[in-house]
């Protein structure tokens, strides 16, 4: 019975592949329009399969699939985001943009994402991960413009590197655990000596690429603006989360103390949280700003991972906080990405009522992201706070509090900047209206930060939920918003501020440019160095080389025999003869 449920789960998770097939057969718009249908089995499996796991013996060398609380939350939010993005894409994308191709890659990535969420063994997880990552290349490079190619190349390079690192880490982990079960892998990484730290580092880095961990995030700000709106919504809302799930599934969090990993995750998380805001403020395109916001938000997740790695006893609470964060950020960020395209469309139609609706729907996820009261944002913030206030966490409480407040302010400023950019883009754009289906999809995601509060209590302690409804909590969540509003008012009102002068100075993909320049400089330096060496130290060698070349030339020029002979040496049946004698000698020497 159990195995039937598990096989059903696998089928449900891979169900979007039918959408890919339908798209490939030439009905991409239909396939996208019925997007919720492809996600429905996955959602239904949340209730039907429930919390269990089992083996699927014929698949991928004894795959194990199943769900637990964490993956149920991931699956729920990803399914909703994918479904809505699909509907939105069907409603708004034009035919001439290669919709068929888009559909195939979209549903391929969707299936990969679902499969990896349900995977309980390493190989299934990596298979889903690879399917998602490579299909997403098609989404990033979809526009086939110069910037899209460039973004795609950077994305692909990092993805392949991550894939190889993951592979290496997985092999190391396997050699310690001797099984593919992720639970065993975690245990083995926790208990064995030797190369475990290397495996952990490789896995952390590999998933860090997907999760937008700071020096590895450079593909994010390039890929999100390049991809079509619906695709960037799922990139940021669903696919990034796969990296987070990878950390949770592979790393031995909560089992042993991992001081190095903890320290580096906390530091990189902090760097991401604030650094991304600073760079994001200097951007022009709304989607780039949102991409940096994602990097910044993922910084919080990295922080939570770091705390759990440093102080294992905090892991259960940190895990809950991460789940809350993932649900909250997924829905809000998905809505925000859609609004980049949807809001101008809705506002363009002119009526005040529609402008108002669009403003509300842009504003709601934005303020939720800043942690506005009575939204999922407030819950996420509270979760963060309750983790950092656990007594095992031996960091100064004041520092953490200041950090949280500063983080909320920073997010608020970035969101304000985003709202301003979108508001300004409203009239400048010549665009068509928003079809009803698109509006519905957008609205469902945009109100996500409200209705998520209704489903999240299933997963989290009721204490958290109660405590965000108190008056003080509302106030503490509200005042950063007020401050942000004031700051935004001032910044937009006065021209010539630092911000205005800085805008556009930092290219999207911030570290990419310097990295390229640095490598060019290094290359030139090494060229010069080698030239120097050659001039002063290798003159004799060069003369020798010249002589050898002259000889080679003479041999080549000699008519017939000698050159023929060389050719014969290089490709010869005599090798077979030599090999035979070598084998005979090998046997003879062995006996």
């Amino acid at each position: 019975m159990e195995s039937i449920a598990v096989v059903g789960l696998v089928v449900a998770l891979a169900f979007p592949l039918l959408g890919a097939l339908l798209s490939a057969l030439g009905r991409p718009r239909l396939a996208l329009m019925v997007g919720p249908l492809w996600a429905a089995p996955a959602l239904a499996s949340l209730g039907v399969v429930g919390e269990q796991s089992g083996r699927v013996p014929t698949m991928l060398m004894e795959a194990r699939f199943g769900l637990d609380v964490t993956s149920m939350a991931f699956l729920a939010v990803c399914a909703v985001v994918w479904a809505m993005a699909s509907v939105y894409a069907a409603a708004t994308m034009r035919d001439e943009g290669g919709l068929r191709r888009f559909g195939v890659f979209f549903f391929g990535a969707m299936a990969g994402n679902f499969v990896l969420i349900g995977a309980m063994d390493m190989i299934s997880f990596m298979s889903g991960f690879a399917l998602m990552s490579y299909a997403a290349y098609g989404l990033v490079a979809h526009a086939m413009s110069v910037s899209a190619w460039r973004a795609g190349r950077v994305y692909l390079a990092l993805t392949v590197a991550a894939e190889l690192a993951l592979w290496a880490g997985a092999v190391l982990a396997w050699s310690m655990a001797d099984t593919w079960e992720l639970a065993e892998i975690r245990h083995a990484l926790a208990t064995s000596e030797g190369v475990a730290p290397l495996a952990i580092a490789l896995i952390f880095g590999a998933f860090g690429v997907k999760a937008g961990l700071v020096p590895l995030h450079i593909w994010l700000p390039l890929a999100h603006p390049a991809a079509p709106t619906a695709a960037s919504a799922v990139l940021s809302a669903a696919m990034i989360k796969a990296g987070v799930l990878g950390w949770l599934r592979f790393l031995p969090l909560g089992e042993i103390e991992l001081p190095t990993l903890g320290a580096s995750a906390v530091m990189l998380g902090a760097l991401g949280t604030f650094g991304a805001v600073v760079v994001g403020l200097l951007q022009r395109k709304p989607k780039t700003i949102l991409a940096y916001s994602s990097v910044s938000q993922m910084g919080y997740v990295a922080l939570l991972i770091g705390i759990a790695a440093r102080w294992p006893s905090t892991y259960p609470t940190a895990l809950l906080a991460i789940v809350v964060f993932v649900v909250h950020h997924g829905l809000a960020k998905g809505a925000l990405f859609l609004s980049v395209d949807a809001a101008p469309r809705l506002a363009f139609s002119g009526s005040t009522r529609r402008t108002f609706i669009s403003s509300v729907m842009v504003l709601l996820p934005a303020v939720a992201l800043c942690g506005a009261p009575l939204t999922s944002g407030a819950l996420a913030k509270y979760a963060l706070k309750s983790v950092s206030h656990l007594e095992h966490v031996r960091l100064p409480t004041a520092l953490l509090d200041v950090w949280l407040v500063a983080g909320a302010l920073a997010t608020g400023v970035l969101m304000a900047r985003f709202l301003i950019v979108v508001w300004r883009a409203r009239a400048a754009r010549d665009t068509e209206t928003l079809p009803g289906a698109g509006l519905v999809a957008w609205a469902i995601l945009a109100t996500g930060s409200l209705w998520a509060l209704a489903i999240l209590p299933l997963a989290i302690p009721s204490k958290w939920f109660g405590s965000i409804q108190t008056l003080t909590a509302v106030w503490s969540a509200l005042w950063p918003l007020v401050v942000v509003a004031a700051v935004a008012w001032i910044v937009t009102g006065t021209s010539g501020t630092v911000l205005h002068r800085g805008v556009g100075r930092v290219a999207p993909g911030d570290l990419l440019g310097p990295a390229v320049v640095l490598s060019l400089v290094l290359l030139r330096g090494s060229n010069r160095f080698s030239a120097f060496l050659e001039r002063h130290w290798t003159r004799g060698l060069a003369r020798l080389n010249d002589r050898a070349e002259r000889i080679a030339l003479r041999i080549k020029a000699a008519p017939g025999a000698r050159y023929q002979l060389w050719a014969r040496w290089l490709s010869g049946e005599w090798l077979a003869l030599a090999l035979a004698l070598i084998f005979a000698a090998a046997i003879w020497l062995n006996v």
Binding site: Q564, A567, R568, L570, S571, G572, E573, W574, A576, L577
Partner: protein, 101 residues
């Protein structure tokens, strides 16, 4: 030295000659002949090494040799047809293999 051993040694010698020609020669017809000599050597070793059955020769290796000869003839014919085709195509007198391919 019993006669069958003579066959075996002569066969091994032919194998050596055939392998030598196959490795060293460049002219395609000569190489083809080398392969033929090699196969002849193998057949001779087969005959020489065949067991002596009560009351007559061992039928199995003889049948094998017959089969082997037909295979060798077919392969030679195909090879010669190919050589002739290469000759037609190059339009020159040489049918040597050239260079590393």
């Amino acid at each position: 030295m019993i006669p069958s051993q003579i066959y075996v040694i002569a066969g091994a010698g032919l194998v050596s000659v055939g392998v030598f020609a196959w490795v060293v020669r460049r002219h395609l017809v000569r190489r083809m002949m080398g392969v033929n000599i090699l196969s002849t050597g193998v057949f001779m070793m087969l005959i020489g090494g065949a067991r002596r059955v009560e009351g007559g020769p061992d039928g199995v290796p003889q049948a094998m040799v017959l089969t082997g000869i037909v295979v060798a003839v077919s392969a030679t014919a195909l090879g010669l047809a190919l050589i002739q085709r290469i000759y037609d195509q190059r339009g020159e007198r040489s049918v040597e293999e050239r260079g590393p391919m």
